[in-house]
């Protein structure tokens, strides 16, 4: 190393030189697998091997001129260049270039063992794969605790669609009224059970994307529901934001009607698009 690393203090992390000792323990293969991260304290200087195992309190971001060698199912080398090396709290190690979207040039999914020898990190996993990062010049080395991850909240998920369609079953068909959400059958609950204007039962399966699997699932429910003398005949409605043509063909062949629903309209948010009607 020719430049001292940038030091940023963070909760439980003494961002120090790359001479820290650390271990990322366990591992599968570098492309797939679960990870746990265990590492030792970041020593202030020097080249030391891992001596103690502890939980990494946050993400570590290193921007450095380095060379990366992978040995495992094949051998690959990234020649010396300035790269971004990420060590996540869960133990994943990823080497990025300044480009190529989200995808790293090389990565090791946790669980891994990281042996930090200062200017060289060796990341290994139980499959015997090894990623060796040899640092020549470190420009940035920071660590930060990101805290608890609340997870990704998706908009338009099936549960919300189900809720909205349960509140507005007429969006599926005129005269439809809700009998019950999650109507149980012995192979699992059907999303909605409704009655049409003539009092006949209608089973509704709701998907975000309407594919053949969804039609098969609804067909199985219909077969079960039609055994119930109190319900039969039960017809099916397959509802989704978009229904693939293959799924539509299969559904129609089985007498199941397909309805594409507009999520924004259901939520009472008219689309920004101007239409004639």
């Amino acid at each position: 190393m020719t430049t001292p690393p940038t030091r940023v203090s963070s909760v439980g992390v003494a961002a120090g030189s790359l001479g820290c000792a650390g271990r990322l323990v366990g591992g599968t293969n570098p492309r797939h697998g679960r990870h746990t991260f265990e590492e030792g304290p970041f020593p202030r200087s020097g080249v030391q091997a891992a001596s103690r195992i502890a939980s990494l309190p946050g993400v570590r971001v290193v921007i450095a001129r380095c060379r990366v060698d992978y040995a495992g199912r094949l051998s690959a080398t990234l020649p010396s260049a300035v790269r971004l090396v990420l060590v996540k709290a869960d133990g994943c190690v990823a080497v990025h270039a300044d480009g190529g979207a989200y995808k790293p040039l090389n990565w090791m999914n946790a669980p891994n063992t990281l042996v930090d020898e200062g200017s060289r990190w060796t990341v290994t996993n139980p499959q015997g794969e090894a990623l060796t990062i040899t640092f020549e010049q470190v420009h940035v080395d920071i660590a930060h605790d990101c805290g608890e991850d609340p997870g990704l909240t998706k908009d338009g998920v099936e549960a919300h669609l189900q809720e909205l369609l349960a509140a507005h079953p007429t969006a599926l068909d005129d005269g439809l009224t809700l009998v019950r959400r999650e109507y149980p059958t012995d192979i699992g609950p059907v999303d909605l059970l409704c009655r049409d204007g003539d009092g006949a039962s209608v089973a509704v399966e709701i998907k975000r994307r309407g594919e053949i699997d969804g039609v098969e699932q609804l067909s199985r429910y219909l077969e079960r529901l039609n055994r119930d003398p109190l319900l039969r005949p039960v017809r099916g409605v397959f509802a989704a934001q978009r229904i693939r043509p293959q799924a539509r063909v299969l559904a129609e062949e089985r007498g199941i009607s397909c309805v594409e629903v507009d999520y924004d309209t259901l939520r009472g948010r008219p689309s920004d698009e101007l239409r004639l009607f």
Binding site: I243, P245, R248, E260, D272, E273, L274, R275, L276, F277
Partner: protein, 376 residues
């Protein structure tokens, strides 16, 4: 079944019949073309259950009979035939084709499974249109039909016949194209015809010329061209009441050279085409000029001006370039008149009737294109 036919006529007939050969793997029989010899006529038929075609061809018939030949293979074979008379002889499972010194031995499909084609009933409403007029109407209107199967009624063209006129209209909810033509025989009926069927009928009309007989029945419509006939099932459902979409008046009227505006919009719109969603083109209308601009921060900008006479206050209004060019292209006239209320309400595009002074052009009544603007 055995016959002898002229190569040109036979090739032409097979190519025409192939238009409605079905591609569904679930019903293999639909991938065949049915040949039937009755006396000195050869009848070719095919269907994909939505569109059926049938034509009759004069041949030298030697033995009556029926054969179902794989359509695509037959098409590939006849296209390569040398220039000589074609003779065909089919037994229960083979068709032998001879043409010059070429010989083909094709395996047949089971003709028993081939569905019976719908035939127009004798007492159905019939009307006759000149083929050219019919083709022009379909070309102008069908382009506004939707390609999205989510709302099947919008994928069709509605044909409304009243005494003396036939109105064709299509809309995908962003634009509406409508044309009214004089109607030779005044049958009163309405039919919602799939766009594809009408496009096939248009191609046939362009190819064959003369007249088109339209036979309207409750569930199907037939387009007959002499010895050929295309029958399409109709789309079920109610087509939107398109007449109520037409604005009662306008506040601004632009008279502009159609070809010039079309060219400018196409050119300027190029900067938006990188994105999958069409980048709108904006028309900046002033008393004597139209400035067309398009572009996005990511790609770049373009602008070009052209002369145009505006009655009313200046206006800035944006459109999906494809829908605008579709309308301009369909209008077909030298000049067009565009009527606007404001930047959020639909604009009406009509071909202008030729006039000495460009500013005095009056809109023609028979074609109308209603176009929704885009909010920018």
């Amino acid at each position: 079944m055995k016959f002898r036919a002229e190569r040109g006529e036979f090739v032409d007939a097979v190519s025409w019949a192939l238009r409605s050969v079905g591609a569904r793997a679930t019903l293999p029989t639909l991938s065949g073309v049915r040949l039937e010899v009755r006396g000195d006529r050869l009848v070719l038929s095919s269907t994909d259950l939505e569109l059926s075609s049938e034509l009759s061809l004069p041949v030298q018939g030697e033995r009556d009979g029926i054969a179902l030949v794989p359509g695509r293979l037959l098409g590939d074979v006849v296209r390569t035939l040398p220039n000589a008379a074609v003779s065909a002889d089919a037994d229960t499972d083979r068709l032998r084709l001879h043409c010059g010194r070429a010989q083909f031995d094709l395996r047949l499909m089971s003709a028993e499974d081939f569905p019976r084609l719908p035939e127009p009933s004798a007492d159905a409403a019939v009307a006759v249109l000149k083929a050219e007029e019919f083709a022009r109407t379909v070309a102008q209107v069908a382009r506004a039909a939707s390609g999205d199967d989510a709302r099947p009624v919008l994928t069709g063209v509605t044909l409304e016949a009243t005494a003396g006129t036939l109105t064709a209209a299509a809309t995908d909810s962003y634009r509406l194209a409508m044309r009214t033509v004089p109607w030779d025989q005044g049958a009163e009926c309405t039919a919602l015809v799939p766009r594809r069927a009408l496009e096939e009928a248009r191609r046939s009309a362009e190819l064959l010329g003369s007249e088109v007989r339209l036979v309207f029945e409750p569930a199907q419509v037939t387009f007959a061209f002499g010895d050929r006939r295309l029958t399409s099932r109709l789309i079920e459902g109610t087509f939107p009441n398109f007449r109520q979409l037409l604005p009662p008046g306008f506040e601004r009227r632009l008279d502009v050279d159609r070809g010039e505006l079309l060219e400018v919009v196409r050119r300027v719109a190029v900067v938006g085409e990188v994105n999958t969603a069409a980048t709108p083109v904006t028309l900046h209308l002033t008393a004597d000029a139209v400035r067309v601009t398009a572009g996005s921060g990511e790609v770049g900008q373009a602008e070009e001006s052209l002369p145009g006479a505006l009655e009313g206050e200046p206006l800035q209004i944006a459109f999906n370039p494809r829908y605008l060019t579709d309308g301009l292209d369909a209008a077909g006239s030298e000049r067009v008149v565009l009527e606007f209320r404001n930047e959020l309400q639909p604009a009406v595009l009509r071909p202008a009737v030729a006039s000495n002074a460009p500013g005095d052009a009056a809109p023609a009544a028979d074609f109308l294109y209603l176009l929704m603007p885009v909010r920018v």
